[in-house]
């Protein structure tokens, strides 16, 4: 059982028998009034979006989902293919279901695949992944424009802002929860 204090982006709950994931969450408190928890949730099967406002004291059922350790194998046409590390069973997911995780999927990446009635409906990637920078403009020494970041493309095609000192070919650590650059991999 979850309470409103557990609400956060990514929390998975059951509503009317369907699994939902919280995709946006904010705390609101009209002056001197009670705390309100405004959530936007996505039905993990149909993809439909639901807005709900909760008050403190309300509770939620966790979604009855099965988490399995798998690895990402490869992308085939519009499908992403994963393999269960124990049973070697393969699971396919389309791009929509994979969501932002596609930015971090490189071959053999260990992931948690979420199964609902034996269908893969979501993929959780590690909080931090190492990806190689495939394109970024060089840093002009003595640049005084004052910009503290520049765009870089990594091997999955994902584009993000990195500090100016990052060079092409470098391995960087990305925080997959925010999609932001975290640090560079030394050596």
């Amino acid at each position: 059982m979850y309470t409103v204090a557990d609400l956060k982006k990514g929390l998975k709950i059951t509503l009317d028998g369907d699994p939902y994931v919280v995709i946006a969450f904010d705390f609101a408190k009209p002056g001197k009034g009670q705390a309100l928890y405004r959530t936007k949730m996505r039905n993990m099967i149909t993809g439909s979006i639901l807005d709900r406002t909760y008050r403190s004291g309300e509770t939620f059922e966790p979604a009855s989902l099965e988490d399995r350790k798998m690895q990402f194998l490869y992308k085939e046409d519009e499908h992403f293919v994963f393999m269960d590390n124990q049973t070697f069973e393969q699971y396919h997911m389309d791009e929509d279901s994979v969501g932002d995780a596609k930015n971090y999927l490189i071959d053999n990446l260990p992931v948690d695949l979420l199964l609902f009635k034996d269908k893969a409906i979501a993929v959780d990637v590690p909080n931090f992944v190492n990806l190689r920078v495939t394109q970024t403009d060089p840093w002009v020494k003595g640049d005084t424009s004052g910009s503290d970041s520049k765009p870089a493309t990594v091997e999955t095609g994902y584009v993000l802002r990195v500090p100016p000192f990052i060079e092409e070919g470098e391995l960087i650590v990305i925080d997959t929860r925010t999609g932001e650059y975290s640090t560079r991999v030394k050596g």
């Binding site: 705390f27 408190k29 001197k32 009034g33 406002t53």
Partner: protein
């Protein structure tokens, strides 16, 4: 170890923050206010049913400096201000931190209408001194501080934006929801907006209107849909205050929250307090508005999660 980049890149915002706080102090000094510094650890926070204090070593971290500042008013400190950290348990969102910075000021022989005028002067001063213009640009909006500021009563706001009366909203228990979803986002869009005369039960420390006891002399200031400040004509009737604290306490107990001890010295001295008005303004939010920050996280050096 590489430099903590998310911290390092806040440098410009933190410099802006320091400057905005400086201009705030400048305004109050020029206006003859005394800056004071009351204890953050207090034995008895004001019992408000929806604000939770954090217990600390048998005392509480204050949720606002209100109780101590009013005791100063009762001892004839006529114009006082304070910029301090306040704590409210469980409040965390894009505009909330459980530890945040409050600007609070009080003036004797004044009411909430005087504070509206002072808000106008304060914000015009800060915004012009900081940004060199009298316009706030936020979230694609351009909010003009120079012209007349909009004023709307809570009653009018419910009729116009929520389509039901304030009384209906209270009766159906949807006052807070409608305020958050329908009304707040529409306030402070072209000019800053004062929304005033809240239902009497929504102002535990506010004076009721003489000509209409169903509402309290209370206003909130909104800019770009964001609540920035909350003000009252202060209640000075100690007996009435004691009664309201009892009611707030019992409503806390009913909801399973622990009651606070009553602030005894405050209640004893309240009768000596001259008619006064007081206001609390969220400094972090003001800094968000002036620096274009979308979340409160961007304007503080550390969020609780980063400690």
């Amino acid at each position: 170890m590489n430099v903590n980049w998310s911290l390092a890149r806040k440098a410009a915002r933190l410099a802006a923050r320091a400057e905005i706080v400086h201009h705030t102090r400048e305004f109050f000094r020029t206006e003859g206010y005394l800056e004071i510094d009351t204890p953050l650890l207090i034995p008895a926070p004001a019992p408000e049913s929806h604000i939770d204090a954090i217990p600390a070593g048998g005392l509480y971290l204050h949720t606002s400096p209100e109780i101590c500042m009013k005791r100063l008013l009762a001892a004839d400190y006529g114009k006082i201000f304070q910029i301090c950290h306040c704590w409210r348990s469980g409040e965390r969102g894009s505009r909330h931190l459980p530890e945040f910075t409050m600007l609070e000021w009080y003036r004797a022989h004044s009411d909430y209408l005087d504070l509206m005028t002072e808000c106008v002067n304060l914000l015009r001063h800060i915004v012009t001194a900081y940004g060199g213009t009298s316009t706030i640009s936020y979230n694609g909006l351009s909010i003009d501080l120079q012209g007349e500021w909009q004023k709307i009563s809570v009653r009018e706001a419910f009729l116009i934006h929520a389509g039901i009366t304030m009384e209906q909203a209270l009766e159906e228990g949807v006052f807070d929801e409608l305020m958050t979803e329908k009304i707040e986002p529409r306030l402070g869009i072209r000019t800053p907006t004062f929304i005033y005369d809240y239902p009497a039960e929504r102002g535990a420390l506010a004076r009721l209107r003489q000509d209409d006891a169903t509402v309290a002399e209370r206003f909130e200031l909104y800019i770009a849909g964001m609540e920035l400040a909350n003000a009252f004509s202060e209640l000075t009737d100690a007996e009435e205050q004691r009664q309201r604290f009892r009611e707030e306490s019992s409503s806390r107990v009913k909801r399973g929250q622990s009651p606070y001890p009553l602030p005894g010295p405050f209640l004893e001295e309240l009768d000596r307090m001259p008619p006064s008005a007081g206001i609390a303004l969220g400094m972090d939010r003001l800094i968000m508005l002036l620096t274009g920050a979308h979340t409160i996280d961007e304007v503080v050096a550390f969020t609780p999660e980063e400690l």
